[in-house]
Subunit: 738 residues, 2 copies
């Protein structure tokens, strides 16, 4: 994203190049040198990391507080909590110092944080005092803890997701009302049809007698969790009654649930487009503002002169080399007139975002340190062999054989020796590749599979050696280490997928969406935290888990005689309880998957149903559908890009100047071919061409773009360069308008 990480240098006399958060909010920052230093500090990566650390520390306190997974004394957790809250307060104060007064107080985000801190402190104090006097009370403020995760500046993506949900709510509500109406109608029919038949369920309970219970049973049927059980008594009575359930499932499960997805997806897409339009226009406008501040008259037009332009670039991106700067200037002022016109100036942010690599310089270190050895015939032959297609095939075959060995029984000593052989083979492969390819390229940022391979192998090697040492010295197999070894061993096999061309598109999309999926991780974390804490307060201790060989009375009934013969006890679900934070998370995960959720809640009291339905609506109907929408959209963007290459105007220009290298071309083989030729020809075609400076622009590969970035450039390709876009106010009102 434009200007990210370069923001600190820019607030000297103009509001351009502001960080992402500002693009969205249009916050005018203070501009004194003191404020700028504070602002730089505020955005320092250490400060950000620290904030995240304390946010997660605060959230994970629930693991140590009563009811705890790892109990800590109340004093310890409360000291930690106060510490976290102080850090948040400090961070907020810091933010207040760099922001204009009225802007800071208008931002609901900041108010939210302050209220949350206040609530937490009050609750903590009250609880502490009551505890001293031996009075039990509820730590209700714990549910506001996710507020910090949502509202601290860096979690823009999570806030965006929440905004998207908020925008979707009205339409979802209408569909939900209609769905509820349908559910109530069907329940009424069911009551009339089956209520007076004196039917019984498989457990011998009365079947479809009470209206509210029917509504709940049919709600569960919508999630398909109690199909076909809920149908069987009526079906046994008369086969025709199956038609009722078929109609119900078609209308409610298939049509209404698809409708929810349609509404969520439609809104998600609309919202995404809006946000991206806003970002693109905002960037354009800020650049125009910057231009207006720096412009001088030149002939009939206003321009920015070369010296000023260079000064600006130096200020904005202090770490660019002078040759890099020359290149940028060459692109911005391609007729070398000594100034940059408006049209070229507004592209600066995009230009700065294009990665630059010094391609020629990167020769293999061994070629520099031991050129005779590295260039010798055996060495050349070896490198050619490694680069050959057959090398890949050989290793694919090895992986397949390895898979068979893994599946075989481990008891035989030969097989456990084989494991060492395979490990050795994989290590040799990596060493050979590093020998052949340039190491820094091989471990480039975007070389996902190389990193993956190497990390897996190193971890497996470490764990296997550790395990072998433990085994031989202490005659003891560490279960944890063995488990990790097993998992790593299987993970190694995944690599085979990348060698099949057809799977690469799918795999790349999957890898691309991982960062955004973390947003959904955050979203899910927030929802889970809130529901887990409420769940613990409501259902804590209702169910106990005892290991299988325990002789506690009612161990099999989860310590609750009322559960005797229930589906819950019969399914051995005792560990699905709300007794601590971790267990609650797992129960909520099971509820997200939806199956058997009526059994999981089976034994709780009536109001629990409301809790479970609320969770289902929030998590399954809204968040899971947003997640599905996101995956759908990611793949649609990917599919539409397969055909039409979206390039920004700048990329075209770079290509025209012959200074561009698609990152795709930087893939191992072509890269190495380039390097080989460099080795042979040495100083072949030098001269005025920019390549001779060892610099080319590296244009981000399709392979590693995020959906956001792709959408943004798709949109930018649509707006003409001359278009300055709507005014600030209009841009900020996109939300309500769209």
């Amino acid at each position: 994203l434009p200007g990210k990480g370069r923001a600190p240098g820019l607030e000297l006399d103009k509001p351009a190049f502001v960080s992402d958060a500002q693009y969205n909010r249009n916050i005018p920052f203070k501009t004194s040198p003191e404020a700028v230093r504070l602002y730089r500090l505020y955005n320092h990566w250490m400060m950000r990391t620290a904030t995240y650390f304390f946010i997660f520390l605060n959230l994970s306190l629930a693991l140590f507080e009563e009811p705890a997974v790892y109990p800590l004394p109340f004093l310890a957790t409360s000291v930690l909590e106060v510490l976290c809250l102080l850090v948040f307060l400090g961070r907020l104060t810091h933010f207040a110092k760099v922001t204009l007064h009225n802007v800071f107080w208008k931002d609901t985000k900041n108010i939210c944080i302050m209220v949350a801190i206040l609530l937490s402190l009050t609750d903590l104090a009250v609880y502490g005092v009551l505890r001293l006097y031996g009075v039990g009370s509820i730590r209700w403020s714990r549910i506001v803890r996710p507020v910090f995760l949502i509202n601290f500046a860096e979690s823009r993506q999570i806030r965006r997701a929440f905004r998207s949900i908020r925008n979707t709510l009205p339409e979802i509500t209408y569909v939900f009302l209609l769905f509820t109406f349908s559910l109530l109608m069907f329940s009424l029919m069911a009551l009339k049809l089956f209520g007076e038949r004196n039917l019984q369920t498989a457990e011998g309970l009365p079947y479809f007698r009470n209206y509210l219970e029917i509504v709940f049973d049919l709600y569960v049927l919508v999630t398909t969790a109690n199909s076909p059980d809920v149908m069987m008594p009526a079906f046994d009575f008369s086969s025709w009654y199956a038609l009722f359930f078929i109609a119900f499932v078609i209308i409610n499960t298939y049509i209404f649930m698809s409708l929810f997805l349609a509404v969520v997806y439609n809104n998600y897409k609309k919202h995404l487009k809006n946000e991206i339009r806003k970002l693109a226009y905002m960037k354009r406008r800020k650049m125009v503002e910057a231009f207006n501040l720096l412009k001088e008259e030149e002939g009939e037009q206003f321009v920015v002169r070369e010296a000023r332009w260079k000064q600006l670039v130096k200020l904005v991106a202090p770490d660019t080399s002078s040759s890099h700067r020359e290149l940028l200037l060459r692109i911005s002022d391609d007729e070398q007139k000594g100034f940059v016109d408006k049209k070229s100036f507004v592209q600066l942010a995009d230009l700065l975002n294009i990665q630059v690599v010094t391609l020629r310089i990167r020769r293999h270190p061994l070629a520099r340190w031991a050129p005779a050895l590295y260039g010798s015939t055996p060495s050349r032959l070896l490198r050619r062999a490694v680069r050959h297609r057959a090398f890949v095939w050989t290793y694919d075959a090895i992986i397949l054989i390895n898979a068979i060995f893994i599946a075989l029984d481990e008891e035989s000593p030969y097989i456990s020796y084989a494991e060492w052989v395979f490990l050795a083979l994989y290590i040799i492969e990596i060493l050979l590749k590093v020998y052949t390819y340039e190491p820094r390229e091989f471990f480039g940022k975007t070389q996902f599979w190389n990193w993956f391979d190497t990390l897996i192998i190193i971890a497996a090697l470490t764990a296997t050696i550790l395990n072998a040492t433990l085994k031989s010295t202490m005659k003891y197999n560490s279960q944890q280490i063995l488990d990790i070894v097993f998992i790593l061993r299987v993970l190694r096999l995944i690599r085979i997928v990348d060698s099949i061309q057809r799977f690469q598109v799918i795999m790349n999309t999957l890898i691309n969406i991982v960062p955004t999926m973390l947003t959904f991780g955050g979203l899910t974390l927030v929802v889970y935290c809130v529901f887990a804490i409420i769940g613990m307060e409501l259902f804590h201790g209702k169910i106990q888990y005892f290991p299988a060989n325990s002789n506690v009375p009612h161990a099999l009934e989860c310590g609750n005689p009322a559960l005797k013969d229930s589906l819950f006890a019969r399914g051995r679900y005792c560990k699905n309880n709300f007794n601590d934070f971790a267990s609650s998370f797992i129960v909520l995960m099971e509820l997200t998957v939806v199956n058997q959720w009526h059994d999981i809640l089976g034994m709780w009291i009536q109001p629990a149903k409301l809790y479970f339905i609320a969770f289902h609506i929030v998590m399954v109907i809204i968040i899971v559908n947003i997640f599905v929408s996101f995956i759908l959209e990611a793949f649609f963007v990917e599919y539409s890009l397969e055909k039409s290459e979206v390039e920004t105007a700048i990329e075209q220009k770079i290509q025209e100047l012959g200074m561009g290298v698609q990152e795709d071309e930087l893939q191992q083989e072509q890269l190495l071919d380039n390097m080989e030729s460099a080795e042979h020809e040495l100083e072949g075609d030098g001269g005025t061409k920019p390549q001779s400076k060892g610099l080319v622009f590296k244009i981000a590969s399709k392979r590693y773009r995020t959906v956001d970035a792709l959408l943004q450039r798709m949109f930018e390709a649509e707006i003409p360069l001359e278009d300055e876009g709507p005014s600030f106010e209009e841009i900020l009102n996109f939300n309500s308008a769209g």
Copy 2:
């Protein structure tokens, strides 16, 4: 769709205006008068209906053949089958007579039908002979029966869905392979992690010991059907193992299943667009061809003269009135030059498709028969009251009160009297409305809710009277009639939805998609038939159902001692069997819903798993996803239309001429207002305006358009009128190209 139902008159000397099937296939028909008569007969609605009847008769034979729901002697079913096959043969011969020889034999559709007839006859003969000699055999040819449903001309939609599936297969396969790979990897990990722990499931069976069983268990987990049961033993052993299952569910259930939806949806949309593009271009091209046949030179351009044009319209649409024809001419030749140019000529098909109503003429019959009474003050007041918003509110309130009464217990005699009161109130409502609004408009084709109301009320009245008669004369309550009364009573309440504005958009879309959903019904029928027949052959008689009070040994174990204590028997699933066609359908429906499917198959032998997995892949992964895609697309089209009205050029022209009435405007109230003013002003503004002829063009309302029609006009709005589109060959190759 263009030309539909008007096709027979058109093959005299040109291939234009061919029916839908021909648009797709470009079949040149024979053009002798004899052939034309045969073609008309072939397309006669009686012939079509008869074909459908025999197709469904043939399919439903499975109900009467061994193993039968309603057993019939073998002779009867085989005579019926031969009859059906003869009808199909006749239909095919008929088709051969009207089609050119080489075209007929090139069409795989026809070959398919012939092969299917041949196979069925052979199988029937062999089975009959073997039966005579007492040798049992399999009626394997029964699975080819759905071929007739797919291949007979009218089921174009089903064939299109199958083509869409065929096109999707390659991409689905790649994703499926990747998914299978992921499944196998996770299974391998599970084997390594849990295989040697000696864990047991809740039923005391060994847990995760055998690789193939793990693969199956995890496949079931992807469908979420055995969550959380499959996790519990590992989770009980160590809480950390939950992470394995969480990772599995996120990757396989959430990501891969969304990926399947993305692939299916993407292909569905691409395919739909292609088909619609093809249709639109084909129509355009046929019209150009017709023009070239009829054209004469006029000045510098070629035109079709008025006389010829009229002759053509008379031939094509014999049932149009002369005033209607005048109107069409007026639009096609708006400068009244006595000829129609090419551009206007090609629009003829669209023009003919626009419905024409004679609006002014329709005054209330009572106003004509008894004008004094109908126009009297009390009558006017009554009609005004009925048209008032309060009338709707009153009846909404009555419906709500009725809902409460329905939910109350029926035992009290007062409540059953109340039912009569409500019935009377509803009948009065309908009578009042018919009195106030013009009856033919009130029961117009597109007045869904009026039809719905009236039919429900009449049915409820009939059933209630029938029931009361039976009760008083024979002291006997017919269960079936009572059930129907209950259902009708509840269905009446649905009407309240339509009076809430916000729900109308959703409801209208839902009503619009019903016709296309029938296509999916057909698709599902085909898949179900094939799987049901295979299922009956494989699993017939393995499980018996005995009523609850039966004293047959092992009645609770479904007559199968091996099922003792199984989840299957415990859930009282005995009626979920493949003992007859109807039961098989219900089992397949339960498998489509997916839940508990591993229990449903629980007791069958290993190969059954393959059958169940095959069904899951075909039905859930492909067909249900296509269904979801279809619903998503329908709503997206609806949403995109809410904002931008898509109008064809012709509609614009009609509006310009002031001859258009949007069907929306024809809604009851506005319509009646029009009529009122007509009553008052009588012959106000006559003259040259077309309305004076009592004719306006009725432009199809958004409310009742199908997705196909909407997409077609969206696409047509994009192609300029001058564009004749690609050549026939190109159009026909769209499929492979797109």
